[in-house]
Symmetry: C2
């Protein structure tokens, strides 16, 4: 089944599928945005048109996530990888410590950068089990400066099924499942997420943090890496990634118009169910990597009986325009990343193909 414009079904782990309607609107406005006489890529970030874009984008994101009073919403650069260092630079004081619960490869990266910056301690890891599950409870120390988790692990395909709790400020890398379901922002001190999975083009990073947490930032940090400087300047301390913010804004409008995050969750559950059902109905031909209770709605990871079959599976899938299904080398097998904008028709196509391939 071909999509409009001969597009493929793009199962890439990120950057990833954007809504066709968003791409069409971006296309139509690319030479002259709303009569401004120029592209969003060309306009001053200090002028009225772009100020209206970034303000609207922030407002819509606040509405989607129902961000409570007392939280800043920032649009930064550098992706989650820069956040791995910014969080401890801002919040891990000399003489203090932070705790990390590691449930996959991205959590490993986060604590590595934390250790470069100070006393970052591992409070939980699921590494021995091959990162197949997330813990129901974590024994956080009440003395920690903050507690760090990764809500969804892209590579292993495991997630926390609900918002965890912590006695200390909870910091969450939500890069790969932000906006995929409602979350209770009030449970978090800081949420960060690269744009390129569920929100928009790579190059922008969303940070949501409480004013209370913000107040703890020491002075003297490099200005670009100081959340307080960024908050004080409404994400306009320097030129922001204007185009990425603009496209994110279009995505947010579309989410608001299609049932908000409840709509998002319903669609994502239906999509993931098609694939997990295909795994579970295969009589052991496909093996899911994650334990059922921790299965990600965003990244469906599974293996086939052997390497040869995996190779054939990937080749035949690609011939059917099912693109980007190769699993990460650390897990092997296959991975279907089905972020918010990935269409259910693509999940149906893959599920059909999985059944067919298992039979043959």
């Amino acid at each position: 089944m071909l999509q409009p414009y001969d597009r493929v079904f793009n199962f890439s782990a990120g950057p990833s599928t954007l809504p066709v309607e968003v791409l069409e609107q971006a296309r139509d406005e690319i030479l002259n945005w709303h009569g401004a006489g120029m592209s969003v890529m060309e306009m001053s970030h200090r002028g009225g048109p772009f100020e209206s874009i970034i303000a609207e984008t922030e407002k819509d994101l606040r509405a989607l996530l129902q961000v409570p009073e007392g939280y800043q919403v920032l649009f930064l650069q550098g992706g989650a990888s820069l956040q791995f260092s910014m969080v401890p630079m801002n919040f891990l004081p000399t003489g203090g410590f932070a705790e990390y619960a590691v449930t996959g490869s991205w959590g490993e990266k986060a604590i590595e950068s934390g250790k470069l910056a100070g006393d970052a301690r591992l409070v939980f890891t699921a590494k021995d089990g091959g990162y197949r599950s997330t813990p129901a409870q974590i024994a956080w120390s009440p003395e920690a400066a903050y507690a760090h988790i990764t809500s969804n692990e892209t590579i292993q395909g495991v997630r926390f099924p609900s918002d965890p709790v912590s006695p200390v400020p909870l910091v969450c890398d939500m890069s790969s499942d932000i906006l995929s379901r409602p979350v209770d922002v009030a449970k978090y001190a800081l949420i960060y997420a690269g744009a390129q999975k569920n929100m928009g083009p790579a190059g922008a990073t969303v940070v949501i943090l409480s004013d209370e947490f913000l107040a703890k930032i020491p002075s003297g940090l490099p200005p670009m890496l100081d959340y307080r400087v960024q908050a004080k300047n409404n994400s306009l301390y320097n030129t922001p990634p204007c185009w990425s913010i603009y496209v994110m804004g279009l995505v947010f409008k579309r989410l608001l118009a299609t049932g908000g995050l409840a709509g998002s969750q319903a669609r994502n559950e239906a999509k993931a169910k098609l694939l997990y059902d295909a795994i579970d109905a295969s009589g052991g031909f496909y093996t899911g990597h994650a334990e059922p209770a921790s299965r990600s709605l965003m990244n469906v990871t599974f293996t086939l009986p052997d390497e040869d079959l995996t190779k054939r599976f990937l080749e035949e899938a690609e011939a059917r325009k099912l693109d980007g299904l190769k699993g990460h080398r650390s897990v092997g097998g296959c991975r279907a990343s089905i972020y918010n904008a990935f269409p259910i028709e693509g999940c149906q196509s893959l599920a059909d193909f999985m059944a067919e391939f298992a039979k043959s």
Copy 2:
């Protein structure tokens, strides 16, 4: 005079005008890049299609600037403002010092961030003169870890007319005039530039640095802020700003097809001459901010006799689709930013209007 698609003449200081042909190509490819079945905004940065885009973009930039052997070309995030901190984090050792020649507002920002990181010393400033000129020679210390300059100051509209020399590694913020003329890269240890003036959409930062300089980087830096990590990973340590890199690549191809940097320089000289001639021929009605020998080809700064006339000038200009001419508050008056992609027709329109307005 209207441009195609009802575009205005955009004199914004950055982000700024892109070539219409580049925007048209981006528009045509936005839903399906070269048959890949997806947008550049959607493709994995680890896949063949994007790898070809970033490799081609780097190759074309190397060709344009005739980058010698032994230099890395990196595509990073965070703009020049993050470079203000990254440079000293990487190259200002404890116990050592760096020197900064400050010829305008951006140089001030650079040394401020340098001082937060270590012993950053002011070796020259033109502040007392209101930043109207650049020095012919600077008394650099041969003991400095590096020497820092800003090749073109956007706000004041002054530039170094030729590549300066230094006895120690020379670091240059070239954000606002990179690719506007040929430069001798071998004279620099590190060049950095935000994309959004002469190269492409905001969100990408070009860094060119010598392997010799790179070898001096200490270990233990936050990975995203460590040039060596970025170089080792060919700018793909994490997800790069893919769309900005892609559009930059289109701009580079166009520059190569229109005479390279010699062509660029000829066009920019002709454009700037129209405006400086209009200033000089006005019998003192317009006053150029920069001294003639240091006049920028990118940012033409000038004042009118009083505030009221300035206000009227800006209003009438805008009515003629001459947009973004208000000067920065620190200089006042007007500023015409006429980067590489700004069309000469816009300079002619402005020059005509300046003559007409002065008469009336």
